[in-house]
Symmetry: C2
DNA sequence: CTTTTGCTGATTGTCAACAGTTTAAGATCC
DNA sequence: GGATCTTAAACTGTTGACAATCAGCAAAAG
């Protein structure tokens, strides 16, 4: 029972109003309740959350630094809008980081971890067979998260998570299009294969390509940037 | 002359006290005036800078998100201390990002850019010949900055700059050891060569290796992490 | 002598109010 | 009718004050 108390205290310890609000805003952005370009009204937010403007402002300065909002002096904070060029740049970086993750993981992966990853792929297969995009997405997410987690570079994992959060700022919300489910999972299978084979270069290349293909799919067959 | 006024207004426009203070603190960390683990006293800082605690706190929340400080509830903000493991992780990420920068640049580099990079290498050669570490360092910095800038991915450049700032949190301050000057510039020459040859894969690999060698040099011949 | 308990000063977390700027509506002029 | 100036409301930037919490020290208990 002391575990509950401990964890509760631990939570209370690291959570000021500022951090709670920042987390809440992050989730609102992730859920799409705050759309790109929208302005945050400090007074309204303060009233709605039952706190004063101080913690709100501090939370916003944190969000600014992590790229989720823009702050314009004397005008307010705006949910950042990712244009095509910025999204393309982000995908490029993401590809490089996933390539690194793949190389790292393939050189230290355990059999248990391979089994877990394999389970995610199976989940996605099932979702695909059922044509259920809503259950495909979380499997996809956990597959990618697990790869960077298992890679052992904690900072890399944090960086990938931050980039993923930032991707939600893209106006075109379909991060993975329905039509790509099948081919995407084929790519997952190749990635898994090469990780299981302890082939760092191969796994890295497969992951890198996987991300770059997503980017191409997002930007359409022509590959040009929208509104850039 | 309107340029002066404009730029002054532009500065005033985008600069609240918060952003000025954040920038000031970043520079203090970079100059080593604030050493790792040290605690920031809000009252003292506010008094010294002639402002109230509000902007100071907002600036610190920004620094927290960019990883330069740790904030502990009810105890204050502490200059973050990078232990060996975290530094190693950061070098790994940095290597991957520079690899990407090299591949990007080699595929789009202009002759003028090659000339500029070549100039930096020459500067470093001169500094090396004079045994002047103090003039080697800025050349080195500009060489690396230029590579990511010329690569055309603005976000990548920002990310590399952020990582570079964060590296200053390492307790062992010699980011590039004197003994490495000669071999380091040899590596620079190889990098430049491959960029000039429009060889993306080669340039990327050379840059990646360059960073990983720096990491190895920092951690000593044994390659183990200090205090990790 | 060691440990615990209860203060005291200092410091952080939060709030409410004031000052300056922006925005937008209304009035005025062409 | 449309454009421009005026003015007031709304909002952000900043400040100072108050409440809550923490570190350190002294006194008391074992």
């Amino acid at each position: 029972m002391s575990l509950d108390i401990d964890s509760a205290l631990q939570l209370r310890r690291n959570q000021s109003l500022t951090s709670i609000i920042r987390h809440e805003l992050e989730q609102m952005i992730e859920r799409g309740e705050l759309s790109a370009g929208e302005r945050l009204n400090e007074n309204a937010l303060a009233a709605r959350l039952g706190v004063s403007r101080g913690p709100i402002r501090e939370a916003c300065r944190g969000l600014e630094q992590s790229g989720l909002v823009n702050v314009v002096v004397n005008r307010g904070v705006f949910i950042r809008a990712l244009d095509g060029r910025e999204a393309a740049e982000l995908y490029e970086i993401r590809a490089a980081l996933y390539g690194l993750a793949g190389r790292l993981l393939a050189s230290i992966v355990t059999d248990e971890q391979v089994a877990i990853l394999s389970g995610y792929v199976a989940e996605m297969d099932a979702a695909m067979a059922a044509g259920d995009l809503n259950s495909f997405y979380p499997g996809n997410l956990r597959f990618h998260e697990a790869i960077v987690e298992f890679g052992g570079n904690g900072r890399l994992a944090a960086e990938c998570a931050a980039i993923h959060r930032e991707m939600h700022l893209l106006r075109r919300r379909t991060l993975d299009m329905p039509g790509r489910m099948a081919t995407s999972n084929d790519e997952h299978r190749v990635i898994l294969e090469r990780i299981a084979a302890r082939d760092p270069a191969g796994a890295g290349a497969a992951l890198e390509e996987h991300v770059l293909i997503s980017r191409a799919a997002l930007f359409g067959p022509l590959g040009h940037y929208p509104d850039a």
